[in-house]
C-alpha cells in the first residue's frame, strides 16, 4: 500500500515542471552568462572568444571599481547605521502599549510599495525647485540644494530613500522577536531594579541577536540587489556617482551593447555575493550560538 508514495511517475509529475522552469531560468542562464562572459559579443555581430580579457578589463575599469565602492557604501550604511537604528526603533515600539499596532503598520507600509514608484515619489521630494525638502529648508533660509544633481549628495540621497523604504520592514521583523521573549524574564529584571535602557541592552538585545544576524544578512543581500532605485532616480548619474554594480552592468550591456563584457560583470557580481555570504557565515554567524528560551 505504501507504493502510492513511491510511485516514480507521480514523483516526476510533481517535480518535473519545477525542475524544468528552474533549469531554464536559473541554471541555463548561469551557464550562458559564463559563456558570454568570455566573448566580445555586442549583440549584433558574431561573437569571438577573447579569453579572460573581459575580466581583466573589469578590474582595470575605474567606473566599475567605483560602482563596487558604491555597493560597499550601501552595505556599510545599511549594516552600520541602519541596523542600530532599526534595533532602537524596535525597542521603542516594543516598550509602548498604546499605538503599538499603528506604529507597526505605518513603519512597515513603505516596504510593500514598488521601488520604482518610491523612486518617482522621492525624486519629487528632492526636486530642487518644487520639492518638499527644499521647501522646508527654504523656510529656514537654506539655499537651494541639488540633492540628486550634486555628485557628493546624490548617493546619500538615494541611501536615505532606500532606508525610508526598508527600515520599517526590518523593524517589524525584530519587533516580532522582541515580543516573543517571555514576559517573566523582563519582569524579573524590573523587580531587580534595572532601568528600561539597561533591560533593553543587557536582556533584550542579547536575546534577539539571532534575528539581528538575520537582519544583517538580509541587509547585505539587499545592498547587493540595489538597482531599481538607482535606475529610476538618477540612472547612475551624476557622472557615475551613484552607479552600483548592477546598474553599471545593465548600462554596459544595453546602452553600450557590450553583452560580453556585461556578462563578465554579472559573473563578478555573483562571485562577490558568494564571497560576502561565505565570509559572513564563517566569521560571524558560525560563532553565534542560538539562544534558547
Amino acid at each position: 500500500m505504501k507504493s502510492a508514495l513511491k510511485n516514480p511517475y507521480i514523483y516526476l509529475m510533481f517535480v518535473l515542471p519545477t525542475i524544468v522552469l528552474y533549469f531554464m531560468f536559473f541554471i541555463y542562464p548561469t551557464i550562458t552568462s559564463f559563456y558570454y562572459g568570455f566573448t566580445n559579443w555586442d549583440g549584433l555581430n558574431d561573437k569571438a572568444f577573447i579569453g579572460l580579457d573581459n575580466f581583466v578589463n573589469a578590474f582595470k575599469d575605474a567606473e566599475f571599481r567605483n560602482s563596487i565602492w558604491n555597493n560597499l557604501i550601501i552595505l556599510l550604511f545599511s549594516t552600520c547605521i541602519q541596523v542600530p537604528l532599526i534595533v532602537i526603533f524596535s525597542l521603542l515600539i516594543s516598550s509602548v502599549k498604546r499605538f503599538q499596532g499603528f506604529y507597526k503598520t505605518t513603519v512597515f507600509m513603505p516596504s510593500i510599495l514598488s521601488t520604482s514608484i518610491i523612486g518617482i515619489l522621492w525624486g519629487y521630494i528632492y526636486n530642487p525647485d518644487v520639492g518638499l525638502l527644499n521647501s522646508i529648508l527654504k523656510t529656514f533660509g537654506v539655499d537651494t540644494i541639488y540633492w540628486l544633481a550634486e555628485p557628493k549628495l546624490a548617493m546619500f540621497s538615494i541611501l536615505v530613500t532606500n532606508a525610508w523604504q526598508w527600515m520599517g520592514f526590518y523593524i517589524v521583523l525584530i519587533l516580532a522577536a522582541i515580543l516573543a521573549i517571555p514576559k517573566d524574564i523582563d519582569e524579573a529584571a524590573m523587580i531587580d531594579g534595572a532601568t528600561g535602557v539597561q533591560r533593553a541592552w543587557y536582556l533584550t538585545v542579547p536575546l534577539i541577536k539571532p534575528i539581528i544576524n538575520v537582519v544583517i544578512m538580509l541587509s547585505i543581500a539587499g545592498a547587493l540587489r540595489v538597482v531599481d532605485i538607482v535606475l529610476v532616480m538618477t540612472g547612475g548619474g551624476p557622472a557615475g556617482s551613484t552607479d552600483v554594480m548592477a546598474s553599471y552592468m545593465v548600462n554596459k550591456a544595453i546602452k553600450f551593447g557590450d553583452y560580453g563584457y556585461g556578462s563578465a560583470l554579472s559573473i563578478i557580481i555573483f562571485a562577490i555575493a558568494l564571497i560576502l555570504t561565505a565570509l559572513y557565515q564563517l566569521l560571524i554567524a558560525r560563532r553565534q550560538e542560538r539562544i534558547e528560551y
Binding site: 500500500m1 502510492a4 508514495l5 513511491k6 510511485n7 507521480i10 514523483y11 510533481f14 517535480v15 515542471p17 519545477t18 522552469l21 528552474y22 531554464m24 531560468f25 536559473f26 541555463y28 548561469t30 550562458t32 552568462s33 526603533f89 516598550s95 509602548v96 499605538f99 506604529y103 503598520t105 513603519v107 512597515f108 510593500i112 510599495l113 514598488s114 521601488t115 520604482s116 514608484i117 518617482i120 515619489l121 525624486g123 519629487y124 521630494i125 525647485d129 518644487v130 518638499l132 521647501s135 520599517g168 520592514f169 517589524v172 521583523l173 547587493l224 540587489r225 538597482v227 531599481d228 548592477a246 552592468m249 545593465v250 556578462s263 554579472s266 559573473i267 557580481i269 555573483f270 555575493a273
Partner: protein, 276 residues
C-alpha cells in the same frame, strides 16, 4: 523624571518616524490637486485651493494607468498562483514521498538558486527570452517571475511540510488514497498558512519588479505599473501635479489592500524572509 513624561519619550521618537513616513504621501496627495508647479512652489504645504479632480481625469486618460494596473495585477496574481502550486507539488514530493535519494539531490540543486542574486541573470535571461520568441509578450515576465520564486518557495514549503506528522498519510494510505489525493486533500490544506506566506512574498515581488519589466516589454499596452509609471514621469516631467496624481493612482489600491490585509501581509513577508 515623572513617569508620564518618561512614558512619552518613546512616543515622541516614534511620532517623528511616523511623520517622516507619512509626510511624503501627504505632500504628493496635496500636490496632486494643485493646478501647476507654480501653485506647488508657492504653497508647498498648503491645502489645494480648490478640490479639483481635473488632474485625476487627465492622468487616467493619458497614462493608461488602468491598463498598467490590470497588467500588473494579473501577471503578479497568475505567476504567484502558479509558482505556489508548482512549489508545493515539488515540496510535497521532496518531503513526503519515499524517494529519498533523488529528493536530496533535487533539494541541493534547487538550493543553488538561492545563492544567485536575481539581477545577475538579467542579460542571459534577456537572450533566453528572445530565443523563446516571447520577448515583448507577457510570457517574458510570467515565466521568469514564476521561475524566480521557485527556489525560495520550494525551500520554505519543504521546511513546513517536513514538520507535518507522518501519521496523517499513514492513515491516508490505509484508506487507499493515492499520492495526488493525499497532496490535495491532506497536505495542501494543512499547509495553507505557509502557502499564504509564499503567495504574498511572490505576489509583492512580482508586483514591484522593475528591471525585467523595463527591458523585456516595450509595448505600452503590455507595461506593468512600475515601468508604466516611470514612462509617465518621463513624459510629463515638467508637470509635477500630474506626476503626483499618477503616484496617488498607483499607490492607493495597494495601500487600501494593505489596510485590509495588513496582518497577513506583515506576517507573510516577515516570516518569509526569516525562514528563507
Amino acid at each position: 523624571m515623572p513617569a508620564t513624561a518618561k512614558k512619552a519619550i518613546p512616543h515622541i521618537f516614534m511620532l517623528v518616524y511616523v511623520v517622516i513616513i507619512l509626510v511624503p504621501f501627504l505632500f504628493v496627495l496635496f500636490s496632486s490637486f494643485k493646478l501647476d508647479n507654480n501653485e506647488i512652489t508657492q504653497h508647498p504645504f498648503g491645502l489645494p485651493k480648490s478640490l479639483s479632480f481635473d488632474n485625476y481625469k487627465e492622468t487616467w486618460v493619458k497614462a493608461k494607468i488602468s491598463v498598467y494596473f490590470f497588467n500588473s495585477l494579473y501577471l503578479s496574481l497568475s505567476s504567484a498562483v502558479v509558482g505556489v502550486f508548482l512549489a508545493s507539488a515539488t515540496a510535497f514530493a521532496l518531503t513526503r514521498m519515499k524517494l529519498d535519494t533523488p529528493s536530496r539531490w533535487i533539494y541541493q540543486f534547487v538550493l543553488i538558486g538561492m545563492l544567485i542574486p536575481g539581477n545577475v541573470l538579467f542579460i542571459a535571461q534577456y537572450f533566453l527570452v528572445r530565443d523563446l520568441h516571447i520577448l515583448d509578450t507577457h510570457w517574458a515576465l510570467f515565466l521568469p517571475y514564476t521561475a524566480g520564486a521557485l527556489p525560495f518557495s520550494v525551500l520554505l514549503l519543504s521546511a513546513f511540510m517536513k514538520s507535518i506528522p507522518h501519521e496523517l498519510e499513514e492513515a491516508g494510505t490505509v484508506d487507499g488514497m493515492g499520492a495526488i489525493r493525499m497532496f490535495l486533500k491532506i497536505i495542501l490544506p494543512l499547509s495553507i498558512p505557509s502557502l499564504v506566506t509564499v503567495f504574498i512574498v511572490n505576489f509583492l515581488g512580482n508586483w514591484n519588479e522593475y528591471l525585467l519589466a523595463n527591458f523585456f516589454i516595450s509595448k505600452d499596452s503590455l507595461r506593468t505599473l512600475p515601468t508604466g509609471m516611470v514612462g509617465f514621469r518621463d513624459m510629463f516631467q515638467m508637470n509635477y501635479a500630474l506626476i503626483c496624481t499618477g503616484i496617488v493612482f498607483s499607490v492607493l489600491p495597494v495601500l487600501l489592500l494593505y489596510m485590509v490585509l495588513q496582518r497577513q501581509i506583515i506576517e507573510g513577508l516577515t516570516a518569509g524572509s526569516v525562514k528563507g
